[in-house]
């Protein structure tokens, strides 16, 4: 099986293959077929070209909606993808048995190990992995049609990374669903302090100053603050996600907190406090502040994402 440079892709692709007819360059198709090495696990060129056409059409080769991709743009688009992973995923979603054999050989154990690492429990991990595996195999149906989550994989990252992220999503959604309801008795309302009436104005000014200062933070700065202080992530964990060194994260965090402090001081002075009074206001007991920093840091902007959170 395979294609030699002298063979015509149209001829080898078989009847009814729309690859070239849909504007896919024959030379490019041959090159991608060779690089993809899908022949090794039994994919046929016809199915391969169908998958490519569908991928290209779905994403319009990475261009805006009405633009028409040139052959160079098509080539750039496909070369920017993890095409081997993507073709395997699509073939699995199409129900290709040989693709499934390949998928199981490559990812079944990896999926299980990733699930155990994510849940921190062998039992939960096995359960999570099995559940996702069943979904991937297409056991769930919607409107009488088999649904396979692998169809949503678009090849921009690795397939194993996509699997890990999907597992993490399932786990987090399940966890949040099952832990949403907290018993009331765990909420310990703070005692009302009758004393601070005298400093009420100062406290209000401080609350506003902090609110405004946080509102001016850049997205990445807010991400750092939230990940480090709200989620309690370590510098190393944050560094791994941002693909930078942890010393860089540490420096950025320090810069952000320093900048935040200065900004709060400036805001207090703008509100009419002297420098000294502003610094004293910063020393106020945080319990006196009526602020929910989690909400302040996590205000919502216009969303560009389509995936709905699990109910």
């Amino acid at each position: 099986v395979g294609i030699t440079p002298t063979q015509s892709v149209e001829n080898t692709a078989g009847p009814g293959i729309p690859a070239v007819a849909m504007g896919l360059d024959a030379g490019l198709l041959a090159e991608l077929w060779r690089d993809c090495e899908a022949v090794g696990w039994g994919l046929e060129l016809g199915e391969f070209s169908e998958i490519l056409v569908r991928i290209g059409t779905e994403q319009n080769y990475g261009l805006a909606a009405l633009e028409i991709a040139s052959r160079r743009q098509q080539a750039e688009f496909f070369r920017g993808l993890r095409l081997g992973d993507l073709v395997l995923a699509r073939a699995c979603a199409n129900g290709n048995e040989r693709a499934w054999e390949r998928f199981v050989a490559l990812y079944r154990q990896t999926l299980l190990r990733a699930a155990i690492a994510i849940t921190g429990s062998e039992t939960l991990g096995s359960e999570l992995a099995d559940q996702l595996y069943a979904e991937l195999y297409g056991l769930t149906e919607r409107d009488g049609k088999r649904r396979c989550p692998l169809e949503s994989y678009r090849g921009r990252g690795s397939l194993i990374g996509w699997l890990r992220t999907t597992l993490a999503q399932r786990f987090v959604d399940h966890h949040r669903r099952s832990h949403r309801e907290q018993p009331l008795e765990e909420f310990d309302a703070p005692a009302v302090d009758p004393a601070p009436a005298a400093a009420a104005d100062e406290i209000t000014a401080l609350s506003k100053a902090i609110e405004e200062a946080l509102g001016r933070q850049e997205a990445e700065e807010r991400f750092l603050l939230a990940a480090y202080y709200l989620d309690g992530r370590t510098l190393l964990e944050i560094a791994q996600v941002l693909s930078v060194h942890e010393a860089t994260v540490s420096r950025r965090l320090r810069r952000v907190t320093d900048g935040l402090r200065k900004q709060v001081l400036r805001n207090l002075q703008d509100a009419g406090l002297s420098r000294r009074a502003a610094e004293e206001a910063l020393g106020a007991d945080p319990r006196d502040l009526d602020l929910n920093l989690k909400k302040l840091l996590q205000y919502s902007q216009a969303d560009a994402f389509q995936e709905k959170a699990a109910p």
């Binding site: 990374g161 992220t165 202080y229 709200l230 992530r233 510098l235 920093l293 994402f305």
Partner: protein, 446 residues
């Protein structure tokens, strides 16, 4: 500002994974970061996925190493590093041994005159003189023993040594030869060279008194498991139990103590505590022992039978770090919230969350987990390089007070206050793992 905290829509697994793998264009990456800043759910997803990837990478590395043995020419050359390293070690040990050997001879030269009475015949003196003369007139001394009366004496001495020390004749002869050659460099022993008995002593005396008193167990006791379990202890360091035992003093370690290991734990339960002290300072060299250490050992030997016990003393000066609570209060924004508790101005500009002081050294951890050291009680600070994983959250100093040692030392005079024997800093990270340091700069995991 919309203060909605629970978002309805999230980036899909494809986008989050592409973000984590740096496969997104800049514009889309910015959108994801903005979303992650707001959305705790997606942050959790991405951190969990990344954590799983890291764990799987760790698992994959040994397998890859095992599989990747063949191929590169460098891997063949790696084999050559083993004998090279072994050779370097042998050469290093030879130098070390040579240095020690010469020092030993120096010790002999000092010790022998005290034990040898004047007027006794010297057998080494003529040989040494002759060798010096030979060195002056005929070049370097020959390694061949002189075949004269001294040679006969040497053979006789060798027989004595052979009987005395259980050495072979050839070995003993070699030692005599070595000692005689040494006399050419050090005139002192030649002038007061010992008679036969002294020669035997000069072979057996090696250096300072032995590190361990191994004849009996009067200065130690067995610490069994029940006692360990029943003793209230600040955490995990079993060495503190050993130091609570009668006759123990952590100052027996002249150099930086080695951190206890799991293997050492067995030694505590099965051997006397004198051995435990030695295990705590396995690198202590005999020739590095100071007079103070020797005096300390003597003092311990003196008071050990009286049941004197060391006491440990902990100093802790830590502000507990506030944790994020359900109400969303963020500790980092409490920077100056409690000015009365602020211990010092750190170079980072952040507030110290934990400090510890021992002697003139002060350690402080700021809110970002950075560690600073001050040698002048907080006037100047220097940053300490991170040698621990995670975020440092707490530092304490542990000070061991040896009350019994003080009592033993003052048996002939006025009672003295307990003197600190050793101070150790202990650092804890956010995963509750600990590191120890003697100087605050070099940290070792426990």
């Amino acid at each position: 500002m919309n203060s909605t905290s629970q978002l309805d829509f999230h980036p899909d697994a494809e986008s989050l994974n592409a973000f984590a793998e740096k496969a997104l264009p800049e514009r889309e990456r910015g959108q994801i970061v903005a979303h992650l800043a707001e959305c705790g759910r997606c942050r959790q997803v991405i951190f969990l996925a990344r954590q799983a990837a890291a764990e799987m990478e760790v698992e994959a590395v040994p397998a890859a190493r095992a599989a990747g043995r063949s191929g590169s020419w460098l891997s063949d050359w790696r084999l050559a590093f083993v004998p090279a390293a072994a050779l370097a070690t042998v050469v290093g040990l030879a130098f070390l041994f040579q240095g020690r050997h010469e020092e030993t001879r120096t010790e002999m030269a000092r010790a022998v005159p005290q034990s040898v009475p004047h007027g006794e015949a010297s057998v080494a003196k003529p040989a040494a003189k002759e060798r010096v003369i030979a060195g002056k007139t005929q070049g370097p001394a020959s390694p061949v023993p002189a075949k004269n009366s001294e040679g006969d004496e040497s053979a006789h001495l060798a027989d004595l040594i052979d009987r005395d020390a259980g050495l072979s004749h050839a070995e003993a002869n070699g030692k005599i030869q070595s000692t005689a050659a040494g006399a050419a460099y050090v005139p002192a022993p030649a002038e007061v060279a010992p008679p036969r008995a002294a020669a035997t002593e000069s072979v057996t005396v090696t250096a300072a008194p032995p590190l361990l008193q191994s004849e009996n167990a009067s200065a130690g006791q067995v610490i069994d498991t029940d006692k360990i379990n029943a003793t209230p202890l600040n955490g995990r360091n079993w060495v503190y139990i050993a130091q609570l035992t009668a006759g123990q003093n952590s100052s027996a370690a002249p150099s930086a103590p080695q951190p206890p290991t799991a293997g050492m734990r067995q030694r505590v339960t099965g051997t006397n505590s004198s051995n435990t002290t030695a295990a705590y300072a396995p690198k202590a060299k005999m020739d590095e022992m100071t007079e103070r250490d020797q005096a300390s050992r003597k003092a311990r030997a003196g008071y050990a039978g009286s049941g004197g016990a060391s006491t440990s003393h902990m100093k802790k000066n830590a502000m507990p770090r506030s944790s994020y609570d359900a109400g969303g209060q963020m500790p980092a924004l409490q920077f100056e919230a409690a000015p009365e508790a602020k211990p010092a101005a750190l170079p980072s500009g952040l507030t110290a969350v934990s400090t510890a002081t021992a002697d003139n050294r002060t350690l402080a951890i700021d809110q970002a987990g950075a560690l600073f050291l001050s040698n002048d009680s907080g006037s100047h600070w220097e940053s300490v390089a991170q040698q621990w994983s995670g975020r440092a959250v707490d530092v304490i100093s542990l000070q061991f007070m040896n009350g019994s040692a003080a009592a033993a030392g003052s048996s002939g005079g006025a009672a003295a206050a307990p003197a600190p024997a050793a101070e150790v800093f202990e650092l804890r990270n956010d995963k509750n793992l600990t590191w120890v340091s003697m100087d605050g700069k070099t940290w070792t995991a426990q």
